[in-house]
Structures are given as structure tokens and as C-alpha cells.
Amino acid sequence: MVTDRTLADDLRGLDALDTPRMEPARRGAAVWAAVWPKLLAVGLALAAWQAVVWSGWRPRYVLPGPGAVFSRLGSELTDPRFAKAVTVTMQRAVTGFALAAVLGSLLGLAVSQSRILRRGIGSLITGLQTMPSIAWFPFAILVFKLSEAAILFVIVVGAAPAIANGLIAGVDQIPPLLLRAGRVLGARGPAAWRHVVFPAALPGYVAGLKQGWAFAWRSLMAGELLVIIASRPSIGARLQFARELSDATGLMAMMIVVLVIGILIDGLVFGALERHIRRTRGLLAGR
């Protein structure tokens, strides 16, 4: 006869055998393992750059070496005009991206819920996404003149379709079983959206936001080169002035700033968010 006592013992034994053993993570080692390949890659890239400079392929005033560029970057970082430019650029990036996130999310929400809207504009959204944002600038300048609005408009047009598409793809990829489970548990209407559909679609949505950020940053840089407002110094404007003054060192220092800001936000904000989601849902391979 099976008694409760042996049943409990059976369960405990099975559970212990079945439970994945979790290795205590050694944080320092994990960080180092993630960092050294990156450091090596940066080192190799700098070495290749220096090698090209030493080969004498282009004169130093056209193609300066990493040493000159980084010492220039150091002096830029302490320059108040540089700080002002970064502030203006980041303000535009955050405002533009936030607008794109709101509009893109509303659009994605509407399209993922309505079959007619999907048939009507589903492929149009993907089409918009493939359109290079720089192609929007002549139109934007015509409509909004050389203004902040022209830049914001192009950021939104560039980023919102990617965000909408991410949300739509996220909703489409929800396993039907989870939706059924939600229905069985009594999830209806807005509650079902909030507690089942949206969390289930979150991985796709975050991927869309990440891609949207990349498009927004690209659009913003293109915009700042074209739309230069005298009272509003920006990273793009400094890049453009450096080209006009044939200041190759300053130009390359600004390019490094553009690259680093793009990578930092992508990795520290969206990459971290993505990793967190994958870890809590058990989607991270043990690497």
C-alpha cells in the first residue's frame, strides 16, 4: 500500500534528481570572459589602423593615426562646447526615440489586433522600414524647414516601423497554447492583453525597440549633417564643421564618439533588457 509518507519521499527524490543543478556564478571570471575578446578585437582594429597609417597610403593630415585621434578625443571631452553638443544630440535622440516608441507601439498594437489593418498596411510598414532615412530629408526640410521638427520627423519615420514590426512579430510568435491557457484561466479583453499577450510578446517587442534605436541613431546622425541650426551645436554639426575645415583628426574623434554612444546604448540598455528577459524565461543557453 502506498502511504502519504512514501509518496512524499518519492516526490522529493524525483524532484531532487530532476532539478537542474545551478552552479554558483563567479562574477569576476564571467565579466573577464566577456570582456577580453572585445579588448582583443579593439586592439587588433587599432593595430590595423596604425599599420595603414605607417604604410604611408595617405598623408597624415588626411588619415591620422590612433594616437593623434585619441589625444584629440581626450581634449574634446574636456571642452564645454563638446559637452553642449552631446547634450543637444542626446536630447534629440531621446525625444525622437520616445516619440517613435509611442507611435510605433500604437501602430503595432492596432495592426496585430485587426485583420483588416494588417492586410491594408502590414506590408507598407515593412516597406517603410526598408526605406533609407536619408531619403526622407529633402521632404522633411521642404515641409519643416531647417528645424528641430525636421530631424524629429525623420527619426520617427525611421524608427517607428521597426518598433511596430517588432511588436507585431512578437504577438504573431506567441505559442497558441499560452493563449489557450490564458483563455481557460478566464483572461478576457484588456486583462488578457496586459497579463498574457503583452508579456508573451515582450521578447519580439524588445528586439523591435533595439532595432528601432539603431534606426533612430542613424537617422539622427544623417539629420545633424544636413540640418544644421546655428544656435544648436550637435555632434553631427561638429562632424560637418571638421570636414569643412579639413580637420581629419577632429572628424575621426567625432566618429568614435558616434560609434561609442551607439554601442553603449544598444548594449547597456537594450542588450541588458534582452538578456534579462531571456534569462528569466530560460532561453539563455549555458554559455
Partner: protein, 261 residues
């Protein structure tokens, strides 16, 4: 516990929990409709444990979805009175973004149960399925059997007094399945739960059920019923379970052979 005192439950308990009368369901329309259920009638008494067996295509899952109100009935009626119906699938179908306890709470959240009552009840139910210590874990950290127990706790959290189970242990290894049989039986005996349990495993049906109902395939109808008058708890390997399972399997074979001609 009821069954410890009495060797079997009363043969005809007073009230019916589920009354199915002349229910038909056809899938697809136009040229090739598939009749899943054809005028099926069945009664399940309150507190009864009924197992449905049948070959594939007998509409077992269809029937459960009709009772749960997920699919629309083409013809006939299904009455469950004032009972709340819970449904459990073959897959645990837990929400991967919630902890184990939050998954159990989700069933109550949609019914508007206040937060502290949800918390307390979820803890109670997790203890019931012996998973109290795993409350803050994520579903992916649990084995298939443990996930299925969370799913059972979640189904019970709907405050269901009718539990529909669609091959819930079909994907588990034999050892885990046997232990979960004991577990489910214990929970059922300690509560006024009515269970309709679908399986293709005849021994499992005889191990668990007060009654085994055999369905025909395409279209699904009740072909035969086998009352299981064996004392509980039963052993799935035991002689009495095997003997009755052999009888049911013979009837199932005859039913399947009918389709070979």
C-alpha cells in the same frame, strides 16, 4: 479520507456534475467535414472520477473543450450546473515570465481575487502538490513532472469543482507518472472534486477511474462503460488493474479493427 474507510465509492451518487446529451461536433465545412462527436451522451456524478479512453480521432479532447466552453457545440446540450470548470492540458502551458507562485495566482487574478488571498491560496496549493519550496522559481527551472504539478495547482486555483484533464501525464516518464497518480488520487479524495480524465493509456484509466468510458473513433460515441470496483489505492502493476485493463483493451482493439475494413 473517504476511500480509506470505504473500499469503493457509492455506485450511484446523488447529483450529476456533468450531463452531456446528444452532443455533436463537426469540424470543417464544405467538401470534407470531419464528424468528431456524434450524438454523444454521458453523465458524470458529483465527486466521481471518470476516465475516457479511445483511439486517436475519437474526439476525447474535443469533448473536454466543449465542456470547458472553449469550442461551440453544434448540436445537443452540456450542463455543468453551478460548477466551475477547470481544464488541464497535456503540456503544462505555464507562463514563462512568471514565477511558480505567480502562475498559480494568475488563475485567481483573472477572477479578481484580492492580492493577499491570492498569495495565501497559491502557497496552500503549492504545498498540496509538494512544491512549496519552489514558489519563487521560474517554470524552466523545473522538470516536466514538477511543471505539470504546478499546472495542476493552477487548475485547482480556478476554484474548479470539475477538473477536466486532457492526457495530463502523457508526456511524463513512467516513474513520475505513477507518483503523480498517487498524488492526484490523494488530492481528489481530500476534496469534493469531480474529474473527467482523458487518456489513451488503458492501465492509467483503470488505475485512476471509478468508471472507464470507451469512445469509438470517427465519429466519437460511447461504446462501452466499465465500472472499476477495485479498492483504492490501486497499483498500476497490480493483478486486478491488469485484468480489467486487458478487458478494456480487447474492447478498444475491436473498436480499432472496425476501421481496418
Amino acid at each position: 479520507m473517504k476511500a480509506v474507510l470505504a473500499p469503493t465509492r457509492p455506485a450511484a451518487p446523488p447529483a450529476a456534475a456533468i450531463t452531456i446529451e446528444g452532443v455533436s461536433k463537426t469540424y470543417g465545412d464544405g467538401r470534407s467535414p470531419v464528424v468528431a462527436l456524434d450524438h454523444l451522451s454521458l453523465q458524470v456524478a458529483a465527486g466521481e472520477f471518470v476516465c475516457l479512453v479511445g483511439a486517436s480521432g475519437c474526439g476525447k479532447s474535443t469533448l473536454l473543450n466543449l465542456i470547458a466552453g472553449i469550442y461551440r457545440i453544434d448540436e445537443g446540450t452540456i450542463a455543468t450546473g453551478a460548477h466551475r470548470v477547470g481544464l488541464m492540458f497535456q503540456e503544462p502551458a505555464l507562463f514563462p515570465w512568471l514565477t511558480v507562485a505567480q502562475n498559480v495566482e494568475a488563475a485567481m487574478r483573472f477572477r479578481g481575487v484580492p492580492r493577499d488571498r491570492r498569495r495565501a491560496r497559491a502557497a496552500e496549493l503549492l504545498d498540496l502538490v509538494s512544491l512549496g519550496p519552489c514558489a519563487t522559481w521560474r517554470p524552466h527551472q523545473l522538470s516536466g513532472g514538477m511543471q505539470q504539478r504546478v499546472a495542476l495547482a493552477r487548475a485547482l486555483a480556478q476554484d474548479a469543482d470539475i477538473l477536466l484533464m486532457d492526457e495530463p501525464f502523457g508526456a511524463l516518464d513512467a516513474m513520475t507518472r505513477d507518483v503523480l497518480h498517487d498524488e492526484l488520487e490523494r488530492i481528489w479524495q481530500a476534496s469534493p472534486l469531480t474529474i473527467l480524465f482523458v487518456t489513451h493509456n488503458v492501465r492509467e484509466a483503470v488505475r485512476l477511474g471509478d468508471r472507464v468510458v470507451l469512445l469509438s473513433s470517427r465519429p466519437g460515441r460511447v461504446v462501452a462503460e466499465f465500472p472499476v470496483a477495485l479498492p483504492r489505492p490501486r497499483r498500476i502493476e497490480g493483478g486486478p488493474v491488469s485484468t480489467l485493463a486487458a478487458t478494456v483493451t480487447d474492447a478498444l482493439r475491436r473498436e480499432v479493427h472496425r476501421h481496418g475494413h
